[in-house]
């Protein structure tokens, strides 16, 4: 525990609630840290001489004569090269049995980047997953969450994705992680031989929940260090932001704030934006990309947490189990990468935008056909073809267990078009059709189509 020579010790707490305690103290700074009964706390309100402290670990058992020591500084992390490969808790203290950090004490939750100093994100991140690379292409400096129900394997997909992208650093911010999932991440990174690229800040369900409010700021402070000092490409994984927001609502409730939608604090949008907007492409080549997880309750994206997240992030990746092929897929309708326009057809093949859009449109036709089928109506010959297309499209391109290059994905797309549709049905620009339409397939098909019509 830190000690400063002339620090004053207070021993008279006047109010204690479930999360906070108040006392009369002088010279406290806003957002300054303090120890209350040896537990870390932060100043959240000052009215005249009365200072209110939020105790991260909870106030259970704190007596009114507990020792209160102010540290004279806001939350910080010791940042330096020895962060690499370390597993730390929400305060930045080691939990991997390794030595204490020795870096420079650096304030977390620091200022934001001047928007005119940002670069436009422009480097494609390839993941090998078609649901991402083909339909929702990611770019360095982007922020995007997985929207997933709690039963879906989002942590596994996120770990796989992070390892495949060859980022210089992967920083994991685990909030309310189950101990099993924590060990999963640790083992996966170890087995991939990637430990020296990893830094993890972990708050598990066994730790006090309020502590997890520090995790994103810790992770992003470390990310900024590597991205600005070493111009590295840093990927930050935040899981699970829903559990983070849940704690925001608990804290605001205990601070007696008026709740807005879904009993979330009125400042939820700003609170989340402060985190996600740390994603940035720096002019000198360094970047921070944020991949987060927002778990949903029963797929409901209108709940305040996913809703506010969707307005902040640059798209979302929606995970869904497809019952037709029995695999987890990235839903093409509800997923979106807002930054894909910056790279598709530019850093990827020219036909990328049109192949992507056409496939999704045909998939939508299939969804309509499916509704018809479920309602017991006869299907047209075109409907039948869309359904066949949809099944193959789901299996070959939407499922998350594939690992393809983007050109392979595009070729697969053309093959699927040609084996189920005629050129005029796909409605793609003619110059692209001439160049990429697999030869010989169309005539055959049109014949089949005309035969079945007659």
């Amino acid at each position: 525990m830190e000690k400063i020579a002339f620090q004053k010790i207070y021993t008279k707490i006047s109010k204690v609630t479930k999360a906070t305690c108040s006392l009369i103290a002088e010279n406290a700074g806003y957002e300054e840290l303090a120890f209350v009964h040896k537990r870390l706390a932060q100043v959240v309100k000052i009215i005249d001489k009365e200072v209110t402290l939020q105790v991260f670990a909870g106030t259970e058992g704190i007596p009114t004569n507990a020792e209160v020591i102010f540290l004279g500084r806001p939350p910080s992390l010791r940042i330096g090269p020895d962060l690499e490969g370390r597993f730390l808790n929400a305060y930045g203290d080691p939990i991997d049995g390794g030595p204490e950090l020795t870096g420079v004490e650096t304030e977390i939750g620091g200022p934001s980047v001047n928007p005119v100093r940002r670069e436009q994100p422009s480097q494609l991140i390839s993941t090998g997953i078609s649901g991402i690379d083909l339909n929702n292409t990611l770019v360095t400096g982007q922020k995007i969450p997985f929207f997933a129900n709690p039963d879906q394997p989002y942590n596994q997909i996120m770990a796989m994705l992070a390892l495949r992208t060859k980022a210089d650093k992967i920083i994991l911010g685990g909030m309310g992680l189950s101990n099993d999932d924590y060990l999963f991440f640790k083992n996966t990174f170890e087995n991939a031989g990637a430990l020296e690229r990893i830094i993890a800040f972990i708050n598990t369900t066994e730790d006090p929940p309020v502590e997890r409010l520090m995790v994103p700021d810790m992770a992003l402070a470390a990310a900024e260090y590597y991205a600005t000092n070493f111009n590295q490409k840093v990927m930050v994984l935040l899981t699970d932001m829903t559990l983070y927001a849940d704690v925001l609502s608990i804290v605001s409730n205990r601070m007696e704030q008026i709740p807005s939608k879904d009993s979330m604090p009125g400042s939820l949008y700003s609170d989340l934006a402060k985190i996600y907007e740390k994603a940035v492409q720096f002019p000198d080549g360094g970047s921070i990309t944020i991949i987060a997880v927002t778990t949903l309750s029963g797929g409901d994206i209108t709940h305040a947490i996913p809703d506010n997240t969707g307005y902040i992030t640059e798209g979302q990746l929606f995970l869904r189990r497809d019952t037709d092929v029995g695999k987890v897929v990235i839903d093409p309708f509800r997923s979106l990468s807002r930054l894909k326009q910056l790279v598709i057809g530019k850093q990827t093949r020219e036909d990328h935008p049109q192949v992507m859009n056409t496939a999704i449109r045909l998939f939508a036709d299939a969804a309509n056909a499916k509704t018809k089928q479920e309602n017991g109506f006869d299907l047209t010959e075109y409907d039948d073809r869309t359904l066949k297309f949809a099944l193959e499209y789901t299996e070959q391109l939407l499922a998350v267990d594939e690992n393809l290059t983007i050109n392979d994905m595009l070729d697969t797309g053309w093959n699927l078009f040609a084996s189920h549709f005629s050129k005029s049905e796909v409605g793609i620009r003619e110059n692209l059709l001439e160049k990429y339409w697999p030869n010989g397939k169309e005539s055959e098909l049109v014949n089949i189509a005309t035969e079945s019509n007659s």
């Binding site: 806003y30 934001s112 008026i258 400042s267 307005y311 326009q341 018809k372 047209t380």
Partner: protein, 585 residues
């Protein structure tokens, strides 16, 4: 003498200041936190306790810190040099700030005081003038920037001197004015104005009548907005609000575009920063940036400054409007502004209204929208502010306070539909739910008849009818099944699909399709309605869809081709022969 006070309490960015000296509501004060000064605005006064919202982070701030009141409300500097600038919500020039990260208390001057401008006087000494009247002009980028009698001057003045043609800095005295008893007043090219007070130096505000072309078919053809009109675009996330607003900002027929990026993503602003200096204004051929000013308060920048940012943007727009210019003001998103109001109202422990928003939210929104409009200036020329705001309704549900409050005042409503967005039918403007009240204005009707076509309004209302009937037919087909309805229903549905695919849907990223001038819109709507009005005969419903798909394909290829080019005509011929095949006399 300005008042002084001391910090008494801190709750996030709400600071309570104790003072015995006079202060005014909305007065600006500076909190002297060590080396840095933190700017704040008075939002409530309770006896000797003054509640201020700080435009910066309050981290580390202590009770007892000195506070200096400025005696002024939040003001912007108005003068040549505003165009092409990137400001934050308080009009600090973002480009002249040092370092990659924003530093707290770093306030930079909005205008360049060393730059010299070619001034040309417009009035002779002896002329009587009042606030807002033009004294002279300078060339700012491609526009003629008028130097006006300061808006704060009350009553009439006589011009005593007005400098001759030459190069002057904005702070040089260019004219002297006299009103009766007072001594001479010096006038420079720069003046200040408090952002929360509307600029009203004009003769009157007539009803808007002139259509403002945006190049977006779903707006211009179906629900046009006018010069001086107001509109809003509500939609759930992912429906293309920002893409639509960017398209409008690039293409609209305006002299000046002010963009208030209010609490939205920084990367979206970066896109404008990077693209606008490169892209050309399709009408003048100048770079888009030359006519644009950006007010960027992105979502991670301080919340209180977010509230100020929309007012800053509006005041800059009003300034240019008073030069007789057509100004387009875009705010993305007004919901973030409302949320900033909510956060403060919450910290002040006010009794909340619906969804914890302040009770007076609809009034605040309505006052703000009312600052837009088409005006006639004292000298008989006209100017306008067309305002388009986006709204981000929570959960996409339009029954929420910001949407409802905006609906009461905005005249155009462009509802973005999740369903259209899901099936990638962009722009996702719902053709049936959206409306433009201007279509009912007599002046607008006359304008459209004279400038587009005599039959235009009939064509548009026919188009809307078909869209409606098509939707009904589709519902019937969904309920009764493809073969449960007469073939006629399928034809009707597919006719509405032709309108949807060819007129409503537009590729914002295609160099040709992204912008459709009115002449081309008229041509294409005529083309499409010709098909819609035709009688077709199909034996089986299966044939209907495949036939219309080919028709749509030809029409879409036309949309992708240069207007009236060979390629365009080739697809047109292809279309004609397709229609010839199936046409029934």
């Amino acid at each position: 003498m300005a008042s002084k006070g001391k910090v008494k309490g801190i709750i996030a960015n709400l600071v309570i200041v104790e003072t015995d000296e006079p202060v005014a509501q909305n007065e600006i004060c500076m909190i002297l936190h060590g080396e840095v000064k933190l700017m704040a605005e008075v939002i409530k006064i309770m006896g000797n306790l003054v509640y201020v919202q700080v435009f910066e982070s309050t981290r580390g701030l202590k009770v007892g810190t000195s506070v200096d009141f400025t005696g002024k409300m939040l003001e912007v500097e108005l003068g040549p040099g505003i165009l092409s600038r990137n400001y934050d919500g308080l009009q600090n020039n973002l480009d002249s700030m040092e370092g990659i990260f924003l530093k707290r208390g770093n306030y930079t001057s909005p205008l360049d005081e060393n730059k010299e401008w070619d001034y040309k006087p417009l009035v002779e000494p002896g002329v009587t003038v009042k606030a807002g009247d033009w004294l002279g002009e300078v060339k700012e980028n491609q526009i003629t920037h008028k130097i006006m009698v300061p808006f704060s001057f009350e009553g009439t003045y006589i011009v005593k001197t007005n400098v001759s043609k030459g190069r002057y800095k904005i702070t040089d005295c260019i004219a002297t004015l006299e009103n009766g008893s007072d001594s001479l007043q010096n006038v420079t090219m720069v003046q200040k104005w408090p952002v929360k007070i509307p600029l009203k130096s004009y003769k009157h505000k007539p009803r808007p009548f002139k259509m403002l072309e945006t190049g977006v078919r779903a707006i211009d053809t179906l629900n046009p907005i006018t010069e001086g009109g107001t509109g809003f675009i509500p939609g759930p996330f992912g429906c293309g609000k920002t893409v639509l607003q960017h398209a409008i900002s690039k293409q609209a027929e305006a002299d000046i575009v002010v963009i208030a990026a209010c609490g939205e993503r920084a990367n979206e602003v970066v896109e404008i920063f990077k693209e606008f200096p490169e892209l050309e204004d399709p009408r003048t051929g100048n770079k888009l940036m030359e006519r644009t000013t950006i007010i960027a308060n992105t979502s991670n920048m301080p919340v209180a400054a977010r509230e100020a940012s929309v007012y800053t943007a509006m005041t800059l727009a009003e300034y240019y409007r008073n030069m007789g210019l057509k100004v387009l003001l875009l705010a993305d998103s007004t919901s973030r502004w409302a949320q900033a109001l909510r956060e403060m109202s919450n910290r002040m422990e006010e009794l909340p209204g619906q969804d914890a928003f302040p009770v007076d939210l609809p009034v605040i929104i309505s006052n703000f929208y009312s600052r837009a409009g088409f005006v006639e200036l004292h000298n008989g020329t006209t100017g306008s502010i067309t305002f388009l705001g986006t709204v981000s309704p929570a959960g996409g549900n339009l029954k929420e306070p910001v949407t409802e409050g905006t609906q009461k005042i905005a005249r155009c409503f462009y509802a973005l539909s999740q369903q259209r967005a899901d099936s990638k039918r962009y722009p996702a403007i719902d053709p049936i739910d959206s409306y433009s009240k201007y279509s009912e204005y007599e002046g607008v009707i006359r304008y459209l008849k004279e400038n587009v076509s005599d039959l235009w309004l009939d064509m548009v209302s026919y188009t809307k009818d078909i869209l409606k009937k098509g939707r009904e037919a589709q519902e019937q087909i969904n309920i009764l099944g493809d073969d449960g309805v007469p073939v006629h229903h399928h034809i009707l549905f597919w006719k509405s699909e032709v309108i949807d695919f060819v007129i409503l849907q537009q590729d914002a990223f295609d160099p040709i399709d992204q912008m459709t001038p009115m002449e081309r819109q008229k041509y294409m709507l005529g083309k499409v309605l010709n098909i819609v009005k035709m009688n077709f005969d199909f034996e089986k419903f299966e044939d209907v869809s495949s036939y219309f798909r080919t028709v749509i394909n030809s029409l879409k290829q036309m949309n992708y081709s240069e207007f009236q080019s060979d390629q365009f005509h080739r697809y047109e011929d292809e279309l004609e022969s397709l229609i010839g095949e199936k046409k029934v006399a």
